[in-house]
Amino acid sequence: MNTQLDFKRGIRTTLFILVVILFLTVVLLPIYYIFLTAFAPSGKLFTVPLTYVPRSLAVERFQDIFGALPIARYMLNSTMLATLSTVLALTVSLLAAYAIARLDFPGANLVMVGLLASSMLPGTATVIPLFQMYQSLNLMDTLLGLLILYGSALLPITTWVLVSFLRQVPVEIEDAAKVDGASFFPLLWRIVLPVIRPGIATMFLINFIIGWNEFFTPLIFARGAGVKVITMALSEAQVIGARSEFDVSWGNMSAVAILTTIPVFIITLIFQRQIVEGITSGVFK
């Protein structure tokens, strides 16, 4: 009897481990394949069947793309836009979130719904009037212009999440500070900010990732090399040294893919818990 039970449990455990391994393979194998392609020595890229364990790795693709494209400039632009738009969105959102969570003004919930609705209708539905307006305001091809677009895209979700964080924090501390005569901005800076620091940190990480990954906005609004971002280098790297339309350099593309992905992977692996908290608190609470 007992051995039969153990046997049954053994099968279940084995099956479970197999499912976990299958899951990890489905997620990691395509990423590993891009890694292999980026580091394959030339001549070793097109092999049938594929070699999953390479004998040697090479960095020549990276030398090629850094030689042919202003990759460092692109990465700097991506970093600046992602960081500054995150700071901008957090500042504006914190004020709005405080009003919504604490001041209890009529229509606070409707503002939240309006923000949600606007986050659901991004990009293409408004891009044409925006494009024309940017042209007449000379905001095309400027970091400021891009910063405004990036920041406003991040606002709705950031406000949502900060409201949910604020609502979890007891009001008593703030009330005590008010009794002690603290005025609005010192109150916000010294009392509220430290208390919801986890929420701010979480949204900083998520917004940075979203800003770093942005592609549609720069595709339309950033056409000069000085303001281009790293995600735009993918298609540019494919045609380095191309002799025809069909001559696509998958190695160069993969090298850019690796460069674009490494920063967000580092952030995700280190701050997994905070990111999950951010994602879920936008939906719950």
Binding site: V20, I128, I220, L234, Q238, T261, I275, F284
Partner: protein
């Protein structure tokens, strides 16, 4: 079943994060005129852009031909006769329905997997997030290489198993599945994280009660877990469906909407008409169509959500 017991239902509606979700916001009733006015004032900036797009859609507006002529409904009439629009709507429907179903099913399965206790669970949870963190454009561009006929990862595996090398991006049906599979690979992580949080919000007492009633693993999932998750699942279906309709990068980089127009999506069509053909008026009309489809999905979804909520 235990799940319909009044006492337990009370427990859920009071403390579960499921119930304190987005729903109470939609439950607003008896709005005063002042509130409505204020709301409109706040929503105006959001609406204004759509109004501008709406306005431009009545013009023949092209920076190349230097035109800005009022043409009435011509752009909308052209829309109904455009075979590209038909093809785009067909694929939008296929893509949205298939991708949402797969994402919800896999999302629930992965959430269940990540909710079990096992060694390396934290690492597995972190790995699950990796596709979410990657840029859509990176995944779409890399997918073109992964679906490559001769040297791609997918065909290498299929070839080892069956000796075949399907032409993924050349055939209509396989190209559509390639886009859908790529989308599911990237976005299921997001749903699974939310479903996992939903699972963690279900009180353990409910499962114990179900066990006493004789429900085993599968049945307690069917009678306890699923009904409690249902409002969350439905609201996630709405979110996911809307973002499928709005997708851009995936077809821009993976298929260019092809072969022909087999994998064209509305955002991609707006981009083509607006920024390749430079036909702003017509592109605005397509953008309005996109806007109304999203609105329709939202309104229909909200109806379902309300009903699911009342049933709980």
């Amino acid at each position: 079943m235990a799940s319909t017991d009044a006492g337990h239902r009370q427990l859920i509606t009071d403390h579960s994060p499921l119930t304190t979700g987005v729903l109470p916001l939609f439950g607003q009733q008896n709005l005063s005129t002042r509130r409505i006015l204020l709301a409109w004032l706040l929503v105006t900036p959001v609406v204004l852009w759509r109004l501008l797009t709406f306005y431009i859609s009545f013009f023949d507006n092209s920076p190349v031909r230097r035109t800005f002529d009022f043409v009435g409904l011509d752009n909308y009439i052209a829309l109904t006769r455009d075979s590209n629009v038909d093809a785009t709507l067909t694929f939008t429907l296929f893509f949205t329905v298939t991708s949402v179903i797969l994402q919800v099913v896999f999302g629930l399965a992965i959430a269940e997997l990540l909710n079990q206790r096992f060694r390396m669970r934290n690492l597995t949870r972190a790995v699950n997030l990796l596709p979410w963190a990657m840029a859509p454009i990176v995944i779409a561009t890399a997918a073109r290489w992964i679906f490559h006929q001769d040297y791609g990862l997918i065909n290498d595996i299929i070839w080892r198993l069956s000796g075949e090398r399907p032409l993924w991006l050349v055939n209509f049906t396989t190209a559509r599945f390639a886009v859908t599979i790529t989308d599911v690979w990237k976005n299921t992580a997001f749903l699974s994280v939310i479903f996992l949080s939903g699972l963690q919000g279900i009180p353990l007492e409910l499962y114990e009660a179900a066990k006493i009633d004789g429900a085993d693993g599968v049945r307690s999932y069917w009678y306890v877990t699923l009904p409690l998750l249902m409002p969350l699942i439905i609201s996630m279906i709405i979110f996911t469906a809307i973002f499928r309709v709005l997708s851009f990068e995936i077809v821009y980089a993976l298929t260019n909407g092809g072969p022909g127009t087999a994998t064209s999506l509305l955002s991609y069509l707006v981009y083509l008409e607006g920024f390749r053909v430079l036909n702003f008026g017509y592109a605005s009309a397509i953008a309005m169509l996109l806007f109304f489809i999203v609105l329709l999905v939202g309104v229909l979804g909200y109806g379902f959500l309300r009903r699911a909520w009342e049933r709980l």
